[in-house]
Symmetry: C2
Subunit: 763 residues, 2 copies
């Protein structure tokens, strides 16, 4: 591509620069390069065809509207479980099936679109696509069979519902989730070793327990024979590993002789403490290992894409051996990739890339662009307060300025902390007392006053800028509380009754207000910030959990629906959960009847209880009693998959993320960007209340020099990662070679990169 | 020190070399150097006086007999709790007090000895010593008061018993433990931040629960009002974090409306999963950080001591700028430090130190000696089988050699694995059947035969060498099982009855036999080996736990003794644990009466149950019911200290140790020692059954060449660390600078090193 000097003169922000003075070929090439950069930035990994037509189709494929639509229909498809039998909100079968058909057609459309974007042979080689295709076909077959059987009134099972969450995994957008599943799958062989050893240990202990306790004629607390059946012992000891039946399972033996406590202490030490720690260690280590390999692959693929974009834009300069990219092409490219970037921001990024101010950059600097775009830079326009513009003399009068200073003072924050504490006491006191009830208005007024004062002292747009979490939080909570309280009072005074729901909301909002204290204590803020930082990545785990929960919920509903009933009123079946098999069982005695698989919501809540582990043996014994002893396998399997594997991975991830926060310095790129911002003197040190003073000083300075103009300030938001991948990449950054461009121009190898992601097709 | 060439001619292993031809001065200097090296090797950190008299006293102080004696009396002192009121085995007060007086005098003697070894001012500056002194004095005062009050029949409390475990921490020998406590103490501020935030979160949720559920008139399963008292709610939600009362605490609200489940799910997500993971992360990270600092200090102190030893032995050679140590001095030194080292082993170590075979070594190589001595090198004498010596023709005949080969074959191992599995089935079957009962003799005979065959095929001393864990395990288990079975049969046939205790032992041994299978499966062996490797370090945690348990047991016994009674027979108080306050409580209903603080053994078992966490709220509610609601604080404190802090540190340690095993290469020193062993051709690749063949081959070769002589082979035992410190040092090796000798000759700084260990004086 030759130089295009005429572009340099295009006024900024016209947005039409691309169509002027450029032939179609150049434009198409630029578009292709932009797609590469965008793919690299978002770690998309699709081997699309590079004809201009296909590129446009590909751009459409990645359009946020289509992606949102896909997710919307995936969620609708998953939510169908709410209205299908056994339903929470029953609707006619034809209605839910119609919706499902719509979903299926959307998924098929998406798949066809994808098939048009990538080469035919690549499409059929990718197991992801085959997997989606098979799921769609199976679902269709299942729907037809179900519809036919339903029409002839024969009982049938919608077995294809189990596959629904797999769509979430297999569509191209479920990258994070697919990666998590892949890492788990790769770690499985190692986990299996420990698991087998663990099972062996339980079997040995069970055999010993059988020999030691079986013949003594001991009874459990409920009068059943103690430790006489080998399989029961194995189950009881497995439950003991989860600590759910401790110390009950020990008491009969311990009551017989204190010496027997030794058996249980050793058992718990070995199986609960040592083996469970080893599980965590093995899961942690293997998951990390494979994740690291994945991230390495990811980064290489990303760099490879950037190299391709570079190859398109590169030009030769006199006196330079290596090809370079000019400022102008770079500018066009970035404008195309991220249209919402301000001119100043773009110039800032360029100055980081072109450190020696040469007007062009080499490959190494160009490749960084994808990462550079992922660093969240906050542009803050420092401008005068609207009141100042409206009436400068009033706003800048001594009392007004004194007020502003007072609001920014530490004492102001402390006064409000005390108010919150007093408020907490009032909330805790009895609502019936009219003094207490009316005090609510007083506190509401105080909080409103606080927000208004802060808005007076600070420029509103800065106050409500996107990253001032606590300001948003405050305002929303207070305004909602105000509205809810007014509605509640109106209803009480007009109708003479208060709605329980609205009261609940009022109470909840009132308590939530207190959380604000956390922000004013520094040692808490650090922890909260770290948690917020790793928040987005935790969402991957949320998806993972939902996929597993959904599958277990579907299977559980088919196996156990209707067997256990919950009766709200005092019906005769209330104390046996509507099933004679549960008469006098601890399940019914503990009032667990509502923990059943009768609809998708109670199934999910039951699965949460099983994840928490405690009393899971009682829950499982309930379902075993109403079906068959082998139903235990369902619960054991759930425990192994969710508690031993997924929860451990979650813990491992939190640990790793915290260590990264504790130990890692900022990345090199971060540092050089930050340095540049400092050098250019456009640094905004911090945001939020503690820096109100700074903001004011700037305003003052502007005023003193008589320039009330808007000034753009920058700040790197180190508190969040734009994508999960950025966090992962940062975790393993130390192990990555910055010069490794990943296979460069070798088509064989590069196609490897594009299809290096094996697919997760079955659990 | 000048060269002492005459020493070179001393025949090895005479042991008298030191007194010949050396003046007293030289001998004393050598002794001092040996003490430095020995201190460095064992990481002792005592600033002893260097006069010859003091050095001898110091050597006596470190004598293993005195150390064992000290530990013996510390254990006796701790075990006094068994016989003191409330006693498991009551003895007269004067008897236990007499024993305690003996213990106190031994401790005082040890302290006086220590005071004589180190300079007077150093002694008084060290808080360890002051702490011991104070404990001794307080104990004495307590004994006098208690004796006097006891004589006048007034109830009194032996409060000084709480201090007993602190002796374990404060005596110089409790280094590991002191380090663990110090690391915990240093990590506390960080942990406290998270803890406060966590408590804040519980308070907010409690307040919300009070407002949401308090006024609905809900009842718990036992009919009590649900969530009406704020402090009760806080406790209930704290228990929910430990998951012990899930899902019971949720059921009343959940039964009222499914929406309320959201409150509990969010609570568990935030507090149980996120906060507990953050606790683990913070504890892990801080503990590691401080431990690393400690290890760095340790290594620097060690090197500093080695530099001092070097300074004593060093001599100047012509043509060399730096002073060196000659082979002869080095030899004398090592012989003095570790008298049981064979000549060949010593030569091997020298050849590692003196890599270029120069006859002398510099400071850097000399400093390595302490680490070199800590690498466990196994010297194996490969010698012919005794039977071969006794009758070579018979032992080397074709059938005999065929037998040997058969025993070493893989199939032999597999046959015995199958036998073990069949045996497991027989053990599980009913003992009453005479066929099953008699099969035991058959299996015992098979196992005996196996051991005899292996002994036939392998040289007995090699078979029973110190590191063949499984051979020892097998033999001990089988022989004990044989003896116990014979006794049991004899008793049955003679007296017509069988002793339950002996039968228990027989059964246990029979099942333990099955564990052997683990060793023949490679994937299991790897995990077991790692566990065995970190075993010794886990003992530090065992001590830590014992110290904390002991203190809580003592306090618990004073607070709760006799309040809850366990009745073996059907006495009227059985169903209320002898206390009317427990009538109809879940504590009594669940038959927990034996979980009490009535003696030290049941206290410890109760504390184990509290560590396991499950049902701890029921246990604590029992003790609350018989005393006062504030008794809960005791249980909450125990939970915070043991479960949140110590167990998390334990998990962190296991994780870290596993990662070291997974990722770390052998240390540099290990590698060079191993290389040397290979070069010298004295490598013994592996021990135990898999390498019986190799051993045989060597024997064969020796025979073929007609040299049935004993040959010394070496092998580095990578499976164990001689000291806990070595494991720790290896963990953090990557961060240590090998050239950092730690303060060298600056007396100020060096005294810092010697007293760098702050002491743990209070919990």
């Amino acid at each position: 591509m030759s130089e295009t000097p005429q572009l340099e003169n295009i006024p900024e922000d016209t947005g039409k620069g691309l169509s002027n003075g450029m032939d179609t070929k150049q434009k198409e090439e630029l578009e292709l390069a932009a797609v590469y950069v965008s793919d690299a930035q978002h770690n998309r990994n699709i081997f699309f065809e590079t004809q201009p037509q296909a590129v446009r189709l590909y751009l459409l494929y990645n359009h946020w509207l289509l992606v949102v639509l896909l997710y919307f229909f995936i969620i609708v498809n998953l939510l169908l479980a709410v209205v299908e039998q056994p339903a929470l909100l029953p609707v006619p079968t034809w209605a839910s099936m119609l919706v499902e058909l719509v979903c299926l057609s959307v998924f098929s459309g998406r798949l066809v679109h994808y098939a048009k974007v990538i080469p035919r042979d690549k499409f059929w080689k990718d197991p992801k696509n085959l997997c989606i295709l098979v799921i769609l076909l199976l679902t269709l077959v299942d729907m037809i069979i179900y519809g036919a059987l339903k029409a002839t009134d024969i009982y049938s099972v919608r077995w294809s519902r189990v596959f629904r969450p797999l769509l979430l995994v297999n569509f191209t957008e479920g990258r994070q989730l697919r990666r998590a599943f892949r890492s788990i799958r790769n770690a499985l062989p190692q986990i299996l070793s420990v698991f087998l050893l663990f099972i062996f240990s339980i079997l040995i202990f069970s055999l010993m327990a059988l020999k030691l306790f079986g013949k003594r004629g001991l009874k459990t607390n409920s009068g059943k024979p103690y430790f006489t059946n080998f399989l029961e012992i194995v189950f009881d000891l497995y439950v003991l590993v989860t600590t759910a039946n401790s110390p009950d399972i020990m008491m009969p033996a311990y009551n017989a002789s204190s010496f027997f406590a030794v058996f249980f202490v050793i058992f718990i030490l070995i199986n609960t403490y040592i083996f469970m720690s080893v599980f965590l260690a093995v899961v942690y280590n293997n998951y990390k290992k494979y994740l690291k390999e994945e991230v390495r692959q990811l980064v290489r693929t990303k760099r490879h894409k950037m190299v391709r974009a570079f190859a398109i834009l590169q030009e030769r300069r006199e006196g330079l051996e290596e090809p370079v990219v000019s400022h102008a092409s770079w500018n066009q490219l970035v404008r195309l990739v991220q249209a919402d970037l301000s001119h100043a921001h773009r110039e800032l990024l360029w100055s980081v890339a072109d450190q020696h101010n040469q007007g062009y950059i080499g490959k190494l600097a160009f490749v960084q662009l994808a990462d550079l775009l992922n660093i969240q830079v906050i542009a803050v326009k420092s401008r005068p307060h609207p009141l100042q513009r409206w009436s400068p003399s009033l706003y800048l009068s001594t009392p007004s300025r004194w007020l502003c200073r007072a609001v920014q003072h530490r004492v102001f924050v402390m006064v409000y902390d005390v108010i919150i504490l007093v408020n907490a006491v009032f909330i805790g006191l009895d609502e019936e007392d009219p003094l207490i009830r009316n005090s609510e208005w007083f506190f509401l007024a105080l909080y409103l006053l606080e927000i208004l004062l802060k808005l007076y002292a600070m420029e509103p747009r800065a106050f409500y800028s996107r990253h001032n979490f606590w300001n948003w939080f405050d305002t929303i909570i207070i305004v909602s509380a105000l509205v809810a309280t007014i509605i509640n009072t109106a209803m009480t005074s007009v109708g003479g009754y208060s709605s329980r729901q609205i009261l609940d909301i009022v109470f909840t909002l009132r308590v939530l207000r207190l959380i604000r204290v956390v922000d004013s204590i520094k040692r808490f803020r650090v922890i909260i910030n770290t948690l917020i930082k790793i928040g987005p990545t935790m969402l991957t785990f949320a998806q993972l959990i939902i996929v597993v929960y959904y599958i277990f919920a579907m299977v559980g509903m088919e196996l156990f629906q209707g067997r256990i009933q919950f009766f709200d009123s005092d019906s005769p079946g209330k104390h046996s959960c509507g099933n004679p098999a549960l008469q006098d069982s601890s399940f019914a005695q503990l009032n667990y009847c509502k923990n059943n698989f009768n609809n998708v919501v109670s199934s999910f809540i039951l699965l949460v209880e099983l994840t928490v582990v405690n009393q899971w043996h009682v829950l499982s014994s309930g379902f075993t009693a109403v079906t068959h002893p082998s139903a235990r396998l369902f619960f054991i399997l759930f425990h192994i998959i969710v508690v031993i594997i997924i929860i451990n991975i979650f813990v491992a991830f939190v640990l790793e993320a915290f260590f990264v926060e504790y130990t890692l310095e900022k990345s090199l790129l971060h540092t050089s960007l930050e340095k540049r911002i400092q050098e250019l003197g456009v640094a905004q040190d911090d945001l939020g209340p503690p820096n109100l003073v700074d903001a004011m000083e700037t305003t003052d300075n502007n005023l003193r020099t008589g320039e009330p103009q808007t000034r753009l300030m920058f700040k790197i938001s180190s508190t969040r990662y734009r994508t999960v991948d950025s966090l992962l990449q940062r975790m393993f950054e130390a192990d990555l070679d910055p010069e490794d461009f990943g296979g460069e121009d070798d088509p064989e190898e590069s196609s490897n990169f594009n299809f290096s992601n094996p697919v997760f097709s079955s659990i």
